[in-house]
Symmetry: C2
Amino acid sequence: MPVSLSKAFPKLKGIVEKYQDFWYEETLPAKYTLLQEGDVSNTLYFIVKGCIRLSNNYNGKEITIQFFFENEFVSSFESYLKNTPSDFSIETIEECQLLVIKKENWKTIMDQNPLFREMFFDFTSDRFINYIHHFLSYIQEKPEERYQNLIKNKSHILQRVPLQYIASYLGITTVSLSRIRARKQPK
Amino acid sequence: MPVSLSKAFPKLKGIVEKYQDFWYEETLPAKYTLLQEGDVSNTLYFIVKGCIRLSNNYNGKEITIQFFFENEFVSSFESYLKNTPSDFSIETIEECQLLVIKKENWKTIMDQNPLFREMFFDFTSDRFINYIHHFLSYIQEKPEERYQNLIKNKSHILQRVPLQYIASYLGITTVSLSRIRARKQPK
DNA sequence: TATAAAAATTAACATTTGTTAATTAAATTC
DNA sequence: GAATTTAATTAACAAATGTTAATTTTTATA
């Protein structure tokens, strides 16, 4: 049991302990693909340490949709919940220490444990709301404003994530991001 | 009980009949605001007849996020579920015939009726997946491609919805939409 | 540590959208 | 049905991003 878990996520800690055999730990190197776009997801990850991105490839262009950090669940949810081919790939950015659970075991816990059900529902609805806000920022703001807001509100992303992923997250090219950075931080 | 409901949504029909007192019907004119951005949503609508849009206002710019038609539930879900001020307004486009249920009654049914719970969960996850795809189209495609795809895949929207709303749905100005239309459908 | 590979920046030009304003078309209402 | 309002289109110019390519910087690794 990772030490950090008990501090960060006491609820989950209890559940992992109770259903010990259902969970396992995994340490994976940077740039490791956890799920390939097009495959059906049957694994749910919880990040103990590290940083992960969820991306989509369209005509050879890879776009990062979301970043995940410590104490977050990661999965391609629509694929995980509906058994459909995933629209997204999931890849580690840094070396990651993960708690892993397979879908069958997850289902068992979901059926048996109202606390976990509640926690998971909270988590997915937060994720949904996250999506909504990210989406709104896309349609409300210009790339440059999105970058400024990233600095203001999500500087942890800027500190840990390579600029190429940030550019695609902002919906622009690395070239354009460089220009914005040069423009707004003179000297 | 609206006649069309039994055909289109037999599941819901049973539930509406069983919990008759919880639901009421409403007929509202075009351009009627069902929910004002900033207010907390406590109403869930089901469209029997008509067409509704969900929008967001940012610095005076109104952006349409989604359209809803017959046999769909409509609400500002994050507000409805979390009791937070809504990021969106909800407004009729045409005259609408609606089935309405207030949150307290909705909660009662959710608690008592697994069938409704399942139906509602299916509905919200479909809505989530919808969002994801709409979002992906935003970051993958140019406005012009989005318009072409709208013609190809969602022509019912084009037929029923004024172009100003479609422009904002595509993330562009009406001027730009006019240009695209002039460009791609010569003569 | 030197070498190679990958990432980030800069430059020049093309393309597209935004903006403002004028014009035409369509819908509303008195 | 005439008058008024709203919606859609067109035009001209400004502004921002995309594209391609070259250059510099950083990171990885032999």
